[in-house]
């Protein structure tokens, strides 16, 4: 068979593999993508307890939907290659040499660049629009929620191996439980008294490192009342695995009652605490070391 006959699609000509693969991929994507978005999507964590978790959930669905066609393309090509390109003979022969294809190379570069740059823009815009998306932003946050001036400040203090919480607008009272009012912006100030910890309020979508001498600010706005888990997400020593607690989002009235009780119950203890500060250094320094 002549080379001209093979290219023109005559008898014995090589089929158009690219078209076949693209067709199979398009059909698979048309079937799987809606399933990913509408069937799997609602179950993708972290839920919808706060503005931040709702946003994180939405982003997770978008990223999963974007990744689905790419994964399918890889799987389809892999399956097609195994099925069609396998060597049926006994002799092992080299395939034809490939010397480059400008159209494929340009398409690949443009598509991947557009995808990466588009995601960078999408991610940056989302971070700014959601007040940092629940992540720690350091002492001077760039991304602030619209109503951050009315936010309730809550200090999160990590220590080996316990979380405690201070409420500076309620006399600096400190507690071992984290209770928050619903539908109000919360401004977490996360710090540590010793090693590096990481404050992770799972259902609230908040994660911020707790570092000695650093005030790491994260914003969150709970929309639903109920319990949420708090864990340390940084390996911090012997009892790291036990450094967890359960917080609660309360109605305004219940929060007011709870914080009033805490102020009364811990009044004597609060007087012993150092004045509220964004960071605390080990004191006294003569500690056993």
């Amino acid at each position: 068979m002549s080379e001209a006959a093979a290219v023109s699609g005559g008898p014995g000509a090589e089929p158009r593999h690219g078209v076949r693969i693209a067709t199979i991929w398009a059909v698979a994507t048309a079937i799987v993508l809606p399933l990913v978005i509408w069937v799997v999507g609602p179950h993708i964590p972290p839920g919808a307890m706060s503005q931040q978790t709702r946003d994180q959930h939405q982003v997770d669905v978008v990223l999963t939907a974007l990744a689905t066609p790419i994964v399918l393309l890889i799987w389809v090509y892999f399956g097609y290659a195994v099925r069609v390109f396998r060597n049926h003979g006994t002799a092992v022969v080299d395939g034809p040499p490939i010397t480059g294809n400008r159209r494929i190379e340009a398409t690949w570069l443009i598509a991947t660049s557009a995808l990466v740059l588009g995601l960078a823009v999408f991610g940056t815009a989302d971070l700014l629009a959601t007040g940092g998306a629940g992540g720690g932003e350091g002492p001077n946050p760039v991304a602030k929620p619209a109503d951050w001036r009315g936010a309730l400040p809550v200090q999160v203090i990590g220590q080996q191996w316990l979380w405690t919480f201070r409420y500076p607008t309620y006399g600096g009272v400190e507690t071992t439980t984290l209770e928050l009012p619903v539908n109000r912006e919360i401004e977490f100030h996360v710090t540590s008294l010793d090693v590096v910890h990481s404050f992770w309020a799972i259902e609230l979508g908040v994660k911020a490192d707790a570092v000695l001498g650093a005030d790491n600010i994260a914003f969150d706005k709970p929309f639903e009342t109920g319990p949420f888990q708090v864990r340390c997400d940084e390996l911090c020593g012997l009892w790291h695995g036990h450094m967890n607690t359960t917080g609660r989002v309360l109605s305004d009235a219940n929060f007011a009652t709870w914080i009033t009780n805490q102020e009364r119950k811990n009044a004597a203890l609060t007087k012993q605490l150092p004045p509220y500060s964004r960071v605390y250094y080990p004191s006294p320094l003569r500690n056993a070391s």
Binding site: L162, N287, A288
Partner: protein, 215 residues
């Protein structure tokens, strides 16, 4: 023949690794059971010593526990019955080194939220006077233990310490939770010789932390 030798060598190596891990897992401190009182409560008697004085870490600060026969054992794993009043006595022989977080200078989770220090009822102590704490975070029990007078003439040197040596006696009680394994620990960074007092005995079960096995 060669394959057999390789297989036998491999088998011996695997066996050695398994034996090592079994030994490692079994090498923790033994558990001490609380003594049952006639009123249905359970008694736990502990002491804190400034230095253990024995192998493998003679310089480390440590807790010790009295077994039902009255003998002091080097362990921090205690067995107590569930939903029972646990009466605790701690003989505290160490000097103060101060709490990192003054919030833990208050007593909580005990009967009446109190402790007695040498017979005097207290709701807490000065944070800088703390030598250790006995804290069970999961059930919100926290009891600060004041250090002995730094000028005491007869401080304890080696565990177990005797009542003739300078000490504070702290008593309190709490109600045990349901069955389970609960971590307890000291929250004073009391590990002498370690960065900010947080290493060594603070990071090793059997010294300044352990488990309360409730069954």
């Amino acid at each position: 023949m060669r394959a057999l030798a390789v297989a036998a060598t491999f088998g011996v190596l695997v066996a050695l690794v398994v034996v090592y891990f079994i030994f490692f897992l079994e090498s923790g401190p033994a558990a001490i059971a609380a003594t049952r009182g006639s009123d249905g409560s359970a008694d736990l008697t502990l002491q804190t010593v400034p230095s253990y004085g024995h192998h493998p870490f003679p310089d480390w600060v440590s807790y010790m526990a009295k077994d039902p026969q009255g003998k002091w054992e080097h362990t921090t794993i205690f067995k107590v019955p569930a939903h029972t009043l646990i009466k605790v006595t701690i003989y505290q022989y160490d000097g103060d080194s101060g709490l990192r977080n003054a919030f833990l200078s208050g007593v909580s989770g005990t009967t009446g939220d109190i402790e007695t220090i040498n017979g005097t009822v207290e709701h807490g102590i000065n944070a800088n006077d703390a030598a250790h704490t006995f804290t069970i975070p999961d059930i919100d029990v926290n009891v600060p233990l004041p250090g002995i007078n730094p000028n005491a003439k007869n401080p304890c040197g080696t565990a177990p310490c005797s009542l003739a040596e300078a000490h504070n006696t702290i008593t309190f009680s709490f109600r045990s939770p349901g069955p389970g394994s609960y971590r307890w620990q000291c929250f004073v960074p009391c590990a002498a010789g370690f960065l900010f007092g947080n290493g060594g005995p603070m990071q090793t079960i059997g010294y300044m932390s352990g488990l309360i096995e409730v069954s």
